[in-house]
């Protein structure tokens, strides 16, 4: 490109001081350049230094970090050499940031209007009288409904998606030439994410801004970026045009990463990436990825590879750019998912389960006040022996709530939960027999919370073994080692505490603890969502193995449709605590389908430059389900009419156990909603 880059980072090294005054690097020799109108994606797993890099581009380092070497040139001048006055002028003005977690990045005690006004006051030449009009204009640009009301709200009164839009509006208020985005859609629902990305793409095109987009999600990068930089352990390992990097990356790590991402169309499990990345600040000779690389040779471990030309116009930090194609990048190259026979008997039956979080107060009952709609209502489903049932839905869909009720941690207000199809389970654990409890185990979303930090792995695993089987001494020890082997951790882990384990290892311990009970049914609550993609694949593989070996039935709750697809025999789609659709996985993921399923499926992002999500409905956040009619009535793109608001939709069978709950006839649901 002829014009000089707007952001030009050269040989940037950033580190923190460890004990004894040694400098531990977080970023190592990073170079990048972004021109006006270009967008660069920075991809990496947690601890790769990607957020540090984005913030460094603004001349900002978090507390404790220091620049060791290199330059961050913005518009011709090094950001770290600028005076505080100049930095204040540029930051938030010509150089804007959209932060990862807008909910926490907006000052809680200031109204949205005051915060936008502050940016206008600092960076905009408009006369004060026009500020409010400009703020409303900005909020309209980011497609927020009723901007005038939003100005008067406090941050916590907005939904996650709305907060993110406000943050975008605030960055736009400074009329930036360059925009840094630090995981701006992480933690948002798929439909909201798709909407925000759509907005960002449009902004990038219309405003000719330079964009640096940091994300762990290759799907997001594929959607918005022209070029991609892959970071691994603080080093650039690959840089190149987005289409090339996503189709045929020239670095083994990028290839393995691509293969570990589950995709909607996959028939097989994603391929897991073994090992874990070096922790931030650790020193290594040679290639940082050598330990996990399938191509690694002795040279790789001793010699740090330079950046060299790879396939197409990519540059890669690999000694063997010609051999990288040996690593398969196709997702779904992993294990074959275990399928359960369709005629196996039921292991768990839910009949009309309804759950309310708030119990009606005495006063409300005396006044005969109508109850708020229940959080979860009328859930009836069957889980067969050896089957895995996926439950998908966005936040607030009640999927975790249902799991808690099945586990007996939350008493349903109405309905029954039966073991097999004949043994009625008590509403809470206190009313269940030990044997019933043993057969039903739960694994929680966040292993940091579900493992007692004060117990060693041995203590954690011994609890169910003692409780259910009364194991002692040698027998206990042997069983614990066997369990750790089963989750591919060794006996050496017995003495460690959760604080000494990585996220993936912790989740394996949690899985091992569940399997220690030799359960018939395991409830998995978003168990991979706190993990990095490459680690996630390994946990999925583990679950599949356990299912094959033990014939255990799973209920697998997730917001990620691709994960649910590869792991599940059947899928249930939930919206606002009500079932929308249920049936064999293949049937649910194809036509005909419920409008909400369709909305979810089309919003999924894939790491594929040719794939674009479709936005079928607005991403309005709903706080409580409607009192009557179809739960999806307020957002449905193909609403049948007034009947949706008054009558609960009927179940329509398509055969093979696939049922859709909608007023529209199946023929209308047969066709894809838009082309």
């Amino acid at each position: 490109m002829a014009n000089p880059p707007l952001i030009d980072i050269r040989k940037l090294c950033i580190g923190f001081s460890g004990r004894g005054g040694t400098i531990l690097p977080v970023l190592h020799d990073v170079d990048l350049a972004v021109c006006r109108g270009e967008s660069l994606g920075i991809v990496g797993e947690s601890g790769s230094g990607k957020s540090t890099l984005a913030l460094a581009a603004m001349g900002y380092l978090k507390h404790g970090l220091e620049k060791i070497d290199g330059e961050v040139i913005y518009d011709g001048v090094d950001m770290f050499a600028r005076s505080p006055k100049e930095l204040q002028r540029i930051r938030g003005g010509k150089l804007g940031l959209i932060p990862q977690n807008s909910g926490q990045s907006l000052t809680p005690t200031l109204r949205i209007g005051q915060q936008i006004d502050e940016v206008l006051h600092l960076h905009c030449t408009l006369p004060k009288a026009l500020h409010e009009a400009r703020a409303i204009d900005l909020l309209t640009q980011v497609r927020l409904p009723d901007p005038r009301a939003i100005l008067r709200r406090y941050p916590h009164e907005l939904s996650g998606g709305q907060q993110q839009r406000v943050a975008i509006a605030m960055a736009l208020a400074g009329e930036p030439d360059a925009l840094l985005l630090d995981e701006p859609t992480t933690g948002l629902d798929v439909t909201t994410q798709a909407h925000i990305l759509d907005l960002l793409r449009e902004l990038a095109v219309t405003r000719k801004m330079a964009m640096v987009y940091v994300s762990h999600d290759l799907g997001v990068i594929a959607r918005v970026c022209d070029r991609v930089l892959v970071l691994y352990a603080g080093e650039t390992v690959l840089i190149g045009p987005a289409a090339e990097v996503l189709r045929d990356p020239a670095h083994p790590y990028a290839r393995a990463l691509l293969a570990s991402i589950p995709r909607l169309c996959d028939q097989q499990l994603p391929r897991a990436l073994n090992g874990r990345p070096p922790s931030p600040g650790s020193h290594h000779h040679g290639c940082a990825f050598a330990q996990r690389c399938a191509l690694a040779t002795e040279t790789c471990r001793t010699e740090r590879p330079p950046m060299t030309a790879g396939a197409g116009s990519q540059s890669t930090r690999c000694l063997y750019p010609d051999r990288v194609s040996e690593i398969d990048i196709r997702g779904g190259g992993g294990a074959v998912p275990m399928v359960c026979p369709a005629d196996s008997p039921p292991a768990l039956t839910l009949k009309d389960v309804t759950i309310r979080y708030q119990r009606p107060s005495l006063l409300a009952r005396l006044r005969h006040r109508a109850l708020n709609p229940a959080t979860v209502e009328g859930i009836s489903l069957t889980l067969r022996h050896g089957e895995s049932l996926g439950m998908v839905g966005e936040s607030g869909s009640g999927k975790s709530t249902i799991l808690k009720a099945i586990a007996g941690l939350l008493a349903p207000a109405e309905g029954q939960i039966l073991l097999d199809d004949n043994t009625l389970l008590g509403t809470t654990v206190e009313r269940r027999r030990p044997d019933q409890l043993r057969r039903l185990q739960i694994v929680f979303q966040n292993p940091d919370a579900s493992l007692n930090p004060r117990q060693s792995v041995a203590e954690i695993l011994s609890q169910p073994l003692r409780l259910y089987f009364g194991l002692r001494g040698e027998a206990l020890q042997d069983r614990m080692v066997a369990l750790l082997d089963a989750v591919r951790l060794g006996a050496s882990y017995l003495d460690r505490r959760p604080g000494q384990l990585s996220g993936g290892e912790k989740q394996r311990v949690a899985v091992a603890r569940a399997f220690a009970a030799d359960p018939r049914i395991v409830l998995c609550d978003e168990i991979t969502s706190a993990l990095d993609v490459s680690v996630q694949a390994a946990v999925l593989e583990l679950l599949n193995d356990l299912k094959r070996v033990h014939g255990t039935a799973f209920i697998f709750v997730s917001h990620n449709l691709a994960i649910v697809r590869v792991l599940s025999d059947r899928v249930a789609v939930l919206y606002q605590g009500r079932l929308c659709e249920i049936g064999p996985t293949a049937a649910v993921y194809s036509q005909p389908s419920h409008p909400y399923t369709e909305v979810l499926l089309s919003a999924v992002l894939e790491p594929d430059p040719d794939h674009a999500p479709r936005l079928l409905t607005e991403d309005r956040a709903e706080l409580s389900p409607p009192e009557r009619g179809c739960p999806f009535q307020r957002r449905c793109p193909v609403k049948a009419g007034a009947i949706c608001e008054t009558d609960a939709p009927p179940w329509q069978e398509t055969g093979n156990g696939h049922a859709i709950r909608c007023h529209l006839p199946l023929t209308a649901l047969q066709n894809r909603i838009c082309g």
Binding site: G281, A407, L409, V429, I442, S450, Q463
Partner: protein, 289 residues
């Protein structure tokens, strides 16, 4: 937890604390005070009642290192002996306060419901009583012997512990590992013992160290006001109170017990601070990356 692992953990915590400057200084100060308290009857150069009528309010000399008080008693000896009663009484009352307050707090935190609601109101009411007033009233009526002071201190200093323990229990109960244990079907008592208490005891340990220093402050204030240790037995608070009148003539009489008392309390505070940091309970500590 078995005795062996418990000992290992205590050793581990102590080693970690000693590695911090605050812990090293704090533990040294507290240790020094304890050693002096135990050995002072043997190492003190004079008996605490021994009066030297010819040498009242004298300054430091070779014979009386820190001079003498208004009755001609050796200040240095009285300083060495002056912490024994305070340390003994608070040393027993603190753990008792911690135990009963801690148990009741955890119990209420877990049980909730009407009992929790009612008892917490009573706790609030007790906390509203001004400072050392209840102590003063009880002592004036029943006398100020250790047999009155100890249970009284243990009772009144246990009340704020209820709040702390209850809040800590609330915080831990909300975590998933408690749900996991419940879902497995462990008995409630086992869950409390195995899952909950190890996490609450850390908070209580730090709280206990802080309570100890406050109790010492309270105890010395009582002595100072004349409601604590009865003369002629030596006590730092009482010594300050006595020597205050002659402050302009013999400042050593005030300064010596002041230094003794202050070093002990500062030592306890530094220890508590180091303990909190070692156990990871320090709020202001943030990870670098």
């Amino acid at each position: 937890m078995s005795t062996a692992t418990l000992t290992a953990r205590v050793v581990c915590i102590l080693r970690d604390m000693l590695a911090r400057p605050s812990g090293a200084i704090g533990l040294t100060l507290v240790g020094l005070h304890l050693v002096i308290a135990v050995t002072s009857p043997w190492i003190a150069p004079f008996d605490y009642t021994e009066m030297n009528a010819t040498m009242t309010l004298s300054g430091p000399s070779a014979e009386h290192w820190l001079g003498t008080d208004h009755l001609g008693r050796d200040v240095f000896s009285r300083m060495l002996l002056g912490g024994r009663e305070a340390l003994l009484i608070t040393g027993i009352a603190t753990p008792v306060a911690l135990l009963w307050g801690g148990f009741l707090g955890v119990f209420l935190g877990l049980r909730g419901g009407w009992l929790d609601e009612v008892l917490m109101r009573v706790v609030d009411a007790f906390l509203a009583l001004p400072g050392i007033l209840p102590l003063l009233v009880l002592i004036t009526v029943f006398g100020s012997g250790g047999e009155v002071l100890m249970p009284t201190l243990a009772f009144f200093f246990g009340i704020p512990v209820i709040r702390v323990a209850r809040a800590a229990a609330h915080e831990v109960v909300a975590r998933d590992f408690i749900s996991a244990a419940r879902a497995r079907g462990h008995r409630p008592l086992d869950i409390v013992r195995r899952e909950l208490m190890p996490n609450v005891t850390d908070t209580l340990l730090v709280e206990g160290a802080m309570r100890w220093s406050w109790m010492l402050l309270g105890f010395s204030a009582l002595s100072f006001l004349g409601f604590g240790v009865a003369p002629p037995r030596p006590d730092w608070g009482l010594m300050v109170s006595d020597a205050r009148v002659y402050m302009s003539l013999a400042p050593w009489g005030v300064i010596a017990p002041v230094i003794a008392l202050s070093t002990l309390i500062i030592g306890i505070n530094l220890t508590a601070d180091a303990l909190a940091k070692t156990l990871g309970l320090d709020q202001s500590r943030k990870a670098v990356v």
